[in-house]
Symmetry: C2
Subunit: 438 residues, 2 copies
């Protein structure tokens, strides 16, 4: 892609409405524009990142044996009356009346809808387990939307649901998502800590929030410092095996959200020097809720003994659009965003220091062509001055910058810069190409 033709309206100044760094940088890099409070348009650069995150989330759900479908955004209120949540949900639910005066709503989540689909179709315990997910826009009418896409009103979420015959099955499904989430966040370059979370009236301990530590996080969290040293590496997982040891090992050290936090246990289990009290951003949540919805909505299957059994369910969410902001909160510097390679909107930014110069143009186009087979390339072919070009490349945070100038070309070199480390190298064009391709 040529920058001269790319719709990437960057801003030089910090927008005054943005309180946190990810919101500022997303506006400045031309990734999003606000449509109304808490509602954003994703411009091409931001859209590319959103899609890359979505693709990783999808791959990991599929690998865990979860099947993708797509439920609509607008749901009938009657479904929520069945579960009792229509009245309970409060003003965050966007309630809508259609032209025939029917009560509808913009789904803030999909437990009722998936339970309805399940009960229409599944009859026998032989068809269990079922793991189903979708990636769809949701709406929560936050009273004070803020922090850009981190706490928007219209947001993209992956929500999955598990259906099992009994608690043991439900727990195995829960463990699958636990493992899939650790893999997902690791692939996104994030150290996400699974923290014991509130289970409310359901009870038990099958609720974990996956939290990224950040001062701008909205919730207080408490954990063992060793979690911070875990490298984000996507471990191989055999989803057919017993995952209990995997989960136990990864929840051995203390980590809890504020609602679940117990100071006495924290002090007993964690040496003082290792106690971390900080804030965190929730990027995922897994939750077992038994037969709460299946009983209320009559989602039963015929068990092995012929009796009807209300299925055991769980739900599993990842905030896809929120992750764009969360990754930036975790990975930026003074100059701008530092994208992990897995979600960068482009892999390489080529900076043509003298657009219009025959040698520079030819070299840049040659790079673009040769890299293009393997790498996604953004070529800055504009007539901006060098300083502005460097600033834009640092701002948008592509992993590699390849700087092509007339002086370098004469001596047979180009400059390759790693955005993350800041390291620069003078290389021959051939070596630069070799470095950037496999």
């Amino acid at each position: 892609m040529r920058l001269s033709q790319y719709f990437m309206p960057t801003l030089k100044e910090n927008p005054s409405e943005a309180q946190i760094v990810s919101h500022r940088l997303m506006l400045r890099a031309g990734m999003v524009r606000q449509s109304s409070a808490g509602i954003y348009s994703w411009l091409p650069l931001g859209f590319r990142v959103l899609k890359k995150i979505e693709a990783i989330v999808r791959q990991e759900q599929n690998m865990a044996g979860c099947q993708e479908l797509l439920m609509p955004t607008i749901q009938p209120a009657d479904l929520w009356r069945e579960s009792g949540r229509y009245e309970d949900y409060g003003r965050e639910m966007l309630r809508i009346t259609d032209r025939h005066e029917r009560d509808m709503l913009y789904g803030p989540t999909n437990e009722e809808q998936i339970t309805d689909i399940f009960r229409q179709s599944v009859r026998s315990y032989r068809d269990l387990p079922r793991l189903l997910y979708h990636i769809q826009w949701k709406f929560r009418d936050e009273v004070r939307p803020r922090f850009g896409v981190m706490r928007g009103r219209e947001f993209l979420m992956k929500d999955a649901y598990s259906f099992d015959l009994d608690y043991a099955g439900a727990k195995h499904s829960y463990n699958k998502f636990f493992a899939a989430y650790l893999r997902t966040f690791a692939r996104l370059g994030l150290t996400a800590i699974p923290m014991a979370a509130d289970t409310g009236p359901i009870g038990g301990d099958l609720s974990h929030e996956f939290i990224i530590l950040a001062d701008t996080g909205e919730s207080e969290v408490h954990c063992h410092a060793d979690y911070l040293d875990f490298e984000p590496l996507a471990t191989e997982v055999d989803y057919d095996s017993d995952l209990e040891p995997f989960v136990t090992e990864r929840t051995r050290l203390y980590a809890a959200t504020d609602e679940k936090h117990d100071q006495a246990t924290f002090e007993a289990e964690v040496p003082e020097a290792k106690r971390v009290n900080t804030r965190g951003i929730e990027v995922g949540h897994i939750f077992y809720f038994g037969s709460k919805y299946s009983e209320a909505m009559g989602a039963t299957v015929q068990g092995p003994d012929g009796e009807a059994v209300a299925v055991e369910m769980g739900s599993y969410g990842v905030g896809v659009s929120r992750l764009v902001g969360a990754i930036i909160e975790a990975s930026h510097d003074e100059a701008g965003i530092i994208w992990p390679e897995s979600v960068a909107p482009f892999d390489v930014g080529i900076v043509n220091l003298k657009a219009g110069d025959e040698a520079c143009d030819a070299a840049c186009e040659d790079f673009q062509y040769k890299l293009g087979a393997e790498r996604q390339v953004l070529l800055d072919d504009t007539s901006e001055r060098a300083g502005a070009k460097f600033a834009t490349m640092d701002l948008i945070g592509l992993p590699w910058q390849l700087v092509v100038g007339p002086r370098g070309l004469k001596s047979g070199t180009v400059e390759l810069k790693s955005r993350a480390s800041g390291e620069r190298e003078e290389l021959s064009p051939e070596s630069a190409l070799a470095r950037l391709t496999s």
Copy 2:
């Protein structure tokens, strides 16, 4: 994918609510389930088709130089007050009031929103043309939703918008979309005829609907019979070249929607034996509307002479979710759907005639493994009887059926059936494999 584990709830009976064949077949094949009137959940099989269509639409938009972004579903009413359409749109617009009593709406289309994004960001004629699109769910509160996903209330649409300095530029953009649409529909296996359509108060002749002929279509259309003989082939297009001859050639013969139809011209231009009066399904619409929105909303750029110019715009829509139904209307038989290869949910269905038989199971798994690298495979490993398995395979319409039975295996053969032609061949496993891989 193993059918025993796949969430594909087929129906044996024709659902009474479905009036047209695509709706019937989509329900029977377990592709969709109705959530409420005109609103559907896409189950895994239907979702796969939807995504494949979306991917082809996206590729062709990108090839035409159009850049993808994503606007939200919920828009502020104020934008539509600027254009004057908030009052005009009528009851098909789903109007919403949020918790702060602000007027919002679920976007039925996005001219206002994209114009707002454009005017915030683009200042100079040097940044033109701009071609931008998104693929997003829309809502139109149809008074009588019917025909399944063909005329739903919540539907997925690709809508693109062009911004040019002058009419000549706008026309060139229009022609790009004309060509991209012909390529798109051809790749979907459809003979879509570009028909002159109403331009309303805008005037001129830059409005075409792309129509598939079908008795179940909702609009009357009139065209030269020769259009029906055109093979759906995706022609190579050089989008930088003058596309006027391309468009002229493909609009030479008479073809018009009812609103634009002129009987006298029809009779003068088309010999009687070649006159087709029938019904059609609109799957795409391209439309030039000049400065209608840019003037109302102040979307101007600085022209070459320094004066502010209201940009010339067009909009270009493809009904992505509707296309799933339209393709089925165009391609089915008594037994079920016949998917074109490009959008089939799986490429090959393997029928294990005797699940549990060691040789059959081993052969099927071997096929699944070997085909899996290149082809998407659905393996019927259930214990249904053979007749039911054949009926299901015909119903869901995968291009190839590979039938593996104990008798055939003993004599060293399997059966390969083409869903489209109905032809069956006895082949050795190796030859079948060779036939299905490149």
